[in-house]
Symmetry: D2
Subunit: 343 residues, 4 copies
């Protein structure tokens, strides 16, 4: 940490800061410039928050962190990339995982027909919501346990591992029994009680970036999972909130690339929520593939105009099949190049 003193800071104030830095378990190195003094807190193993609180001490202008706040998710700690195994399907091993399926499980017919169609087109995992986070209490909230049972059944039939969202600590056990991978939705990215509970399960977790989360906050949310004992984490960029309203969110592919640079965890893109417009899903999927993303998550529905949720951004079977074909070439091009660039 660097503690910047105000221009008019007195010797007494500077000495107080030095003393507090030492109390916090660090060495203090002072640089006195012509205009102001700077105190560098050096060392590891000290109490970081005590340094941060010095922003409130007399004579201090601000406190600037130097080291990254995350550890276990960092490539400095673990340079080799993590591969997450989801019931036999690997994410992060250089292949390109495609998670596809309906926003919500609505019926057996809807789920099974979609599973069949996305598998035929090349998807490697199936998604489907049982418990749905909905902005309004008057919207469809998901079929709950009935949906979980359908998911377990369709997994047996199709052979596709199943991903579904968990919204509450109370649902963790039952979802673990029925699904292969648990998704933490964007609005729950900093639901720390939920993260702590999931850390103890060892199940693969798909951690979506919050709509106003910085890359650092996203990685720190993942740090909760790793620090709690669960290394099986896949990150998912799904767009951030910005002033642009023509797209539902702003899919931030540079942050996806940056997360892969800073962390060893696999990172995938969700162009369905990221754009909210069917015509943009294919171009953004191609872009994600070309920059080295580890996969995609895409919403597919037999009849988007009759979907109970997210219909406007869902692809129908033909659209999904077209998307998968359009990815073949960028992925081939990607091959050795991006794998080399990424590692």
């Amino acid at each position: 940490m660097i503690i910047n003193m105000h221009e008019g800071a007195t010797d007494q104030e500077i000495n107080h800061v030095i003393e507090r830095v030492r109390e916090a378990g660090y060495q203090a190195h002072v640089t006195r410039g012509t205009e102001r003094a700077i105190v560098a807190a050096v060392g590891s193993g000290g109490r970081r928050h005590e340094l941060e609180a010095l922003a409130a001490a007399a004579g201090v202008m601000d406190v600037v962190p130097i080291a990254q706040p995350f550890k276990l998710v960092s490539r400095q700690v673990k340079p080799q990339r993590t591969v997450v195994n989801v019931s036999g399907v690997s994410i992060g091993d250089g292949s390109f995982a495609v998670i596809a399926g309906p926003c919500s499980v609505e019926s057996r017919e809807q789920l099974f027909s979609t599973a069949k169609a996305v598998k035929a087109a090349g998807a490697t995992l199936l998604r489907g919501g049982a418990y749905k986070p909905r902005t309004s209490p008057y919207e469809f909230q998901g079929l709950g346990l009935e949906a979980l049972r359908l998911l377990r059944e369709v997994r047996e039939q199709s052979g596709l591992p199943v991903v579904t969202e968990v919204m509450s600590t109370e649902d963790v056990d039952v979802i673990c029994d029925h699904a292969d991978m648990l998704q933490v939705g964007a609005r729950n990215m900093q639901n720390f009680a939920l993260l702590r509970r999931l850390a103890s399960t060892k199940k693969p977790i798909l951690l979506k970036r919050g709509p106003s989360a910085s890359v650092k906050e996203w990685l720190l949310a993942a740090e909760y999972l790793l620090a709690g004992g669960n290394p099986n984490v896949v990150l998912c960029e799904r767009g951030i909130k910005t002033f642009e309203t023509e797209t539902r969110n702003t899919l931030d592919l540079a942050s996806l690339a940056l997360a892969r640079e800073l962390s060893h965890l696999p990172v995938i893109a969700d162009p369905s929520h990221g754009t909210g417009r069917p015509t943009l899903i294919t171009p953004m999927s191609r872009a994600a593939a070309a920059l080295g993303a580890d996969g995609l998550m895409v919403e597919v529905h037999p009849c988007p105009e009759r979907a109970l949720s997210d219909g406007p951004q869902s692809l129908d079977f033909t659209g999904f099949s077209h998307l998968m074909r359009s990815l073949a070439e960028p992925l081939r091009a990607n091959g050795t190049a991006s794998a080399a660039a990424a590692d």
Copy 2:
């Protein structure tokens, strides 16, 4: 809802939309312009989501909602303002509630001295965190149950009702036993499992606006509470995430005023999180008072530079006392004027 057809939409596509509007339980009124057709879905009691999904139908450009999506929180449904009673202290009755106290409960001495100081300066409720949502797993996470016990004890001694944050459905019962008002933090504003659980408690709830939540999303989160049976909701504007980094968040006072215009619920401001800078807390508190806010939430600590969390944005006792004195005049000025304007 208005369904805007594309310029080249065929009669077949328009007729399909008309048919679907009727299936969804609405009347369809068509306006054929020189360039495009517009279908208005009229009526109430239909299935709104079926109209929204029509955005995915062939020939449809977009679907534009007309009516506000919230009901019970709306002033159209309940014109008179709600007054929330927190163990004898009213919020929303034209008085100006001041909730003050430390970010986290750190010790008996810290909590009791703060309670005494803020009460003497004029605070009407006491805040103090027991379970803390922290960006990093390596930061202080709160004293938990020990903090709750201290809060109950300090309430007895000081007579100030106590507000503390709830982060998980599993903690709801124990917090209800110890505190007078439960705070839903900004990062949990759309933790719908938690909202549903809190709706069943009838306890006063302080619902913070999420850092990327629009006013509509915020009011819809409150709608979960009211629809679930708990009318005792106070809204709290605590700043949104924007590009400006000189302040921790951007305190959006216009949205505070707008929330009071659209809803009958009381709305207060949190200038501590809203600005993150002690020098801005007093001016923004005065501004909130002048525009008709129902109160404030402010972080106060005996020694901010030794706080275990949020020290840099906490006021010390002198600073808080100065803040309270500076509010006297705008509040007097406010008196009849803003009360009249608000209602």
Copy 3:
């Protein structure tokens, strides 16, 4: 500046940075921590950009500025507050300036009736657009020279100094001949050619904050004017672009307060553009008055629903008169308190 080296930076890389810091005209102080080295560049009078470019040197993680980049606008350089005299009306002297009038000058009748009404209600300056920045080329672009002539005429008749926007270096001379204060619109805040030209005029300038400008960028735009020789600058906060679309912009009153804290220049608020909603103009004006703003800019039109521009956010005469009455009390309350707080 602090140059943070990467963890694995070699001695050669660190020495190269030290050498470059010295070449740039600074002293280099090195702190070697357990994990990484930090090089502090100390001194004044060096070439700042050469330090910034070191972010591209081998082994460098990032370069963090310590000192504020602005000088002449800073209260560190000039602690006493600036008072700008606009043809006899002072802004920044503790009084509360109210600039009111139509978005665009549309006709003699419209302009003269508005001037009369706003003067009667207590406005101290008159605004009116002659050259209008419009998002679309098909919108009303202003009456140009004809409007300027009307502005000069109404000034004679009403005695109110006149503020109008300048969009191009080519119009500076003619506008200086007709108006008392020149406004730089939000979209031109970083039109540096225009700023340089205006710096040479000595005329009072109203510098609006750009919709995506940070406080620092805003103050640096003002620095162009002061560095070029024109100290007569009034800053105007008019809202920034955020994800919230219920309001036209997000009026950032905390940044207004911060700009007054960092700079000696007067700062006013524009709640018309800042909110875009007539019902929010009065509450936000009261808030601005209470936190110590130096004044307001408000759009007023005889018949908003017939305005050629910005009708939806304009007050009619009655609305403006009501606004002015509602300000009386917060301003009286403000009196000594905020003046004392500000200086």
Copy 4:
């Protein structure tokens, strides 16, 4: 336009709106729902702003535009894609244009060596700033006319057409004499005086998206150029301002794809400003190529750590050469696929 009436709107208010719609040159179609009335203004050739101003009329809740506000830039008006010819180099014809060079022209040696290097690596146009928009008046402002002369000279020698930024109407003529394409910088995107002047030149224009401009505002800025008589416009996405500070801006590739969907103009990406981080330039360039962008603009400098501007985000010759090689495969993959998808 749809004019939504308030729930309590009276017949008199509704009739007034109908009358005003007709006065504005449109037909009025009224739909009376159970809760509120809707007035649709139908037809073309009316005065759009008179409808917009009705938002201020009594009983009106809001006015929602249906038709897109731009015309000449729209693919509805001109379905076939525009190809812009820059002194023999085509942009928008399915090839992938690469504009490379230094942020600022600093010296003959710097410019000529860069031109040679980028041409050898495959760049098709050369960039170099003569007049620089700098946030601070104390930063390097460009060599001006001397830089223009060097640009003209290097063009003769290298054969690469030259792109340089124009900041002021007063510089338009001299820049037209020396450069092949004029760039309008992000901060001048809504400098309408400049756009109008450039519309009269017929020179190819590179129009950067403003940091807070929506796609619609960006296309409307281009509309100024086309409506003024200059069809030779290339759009450039260079990142928007968001809360994420790890990257300099947020490169919004979905908006790039959307601009190509809505408009027939070529659209390129600027990953240098878009990310501000050298390690992200190659992945984002690959992404842009894969989604069908018409080209790139990239900053290249012989020695980034000695650059007078934008060093931290510039590639050196080796880095640029590596970038160009990494594009070969996605562009080959792109070939027929994206061309087909785009048209």
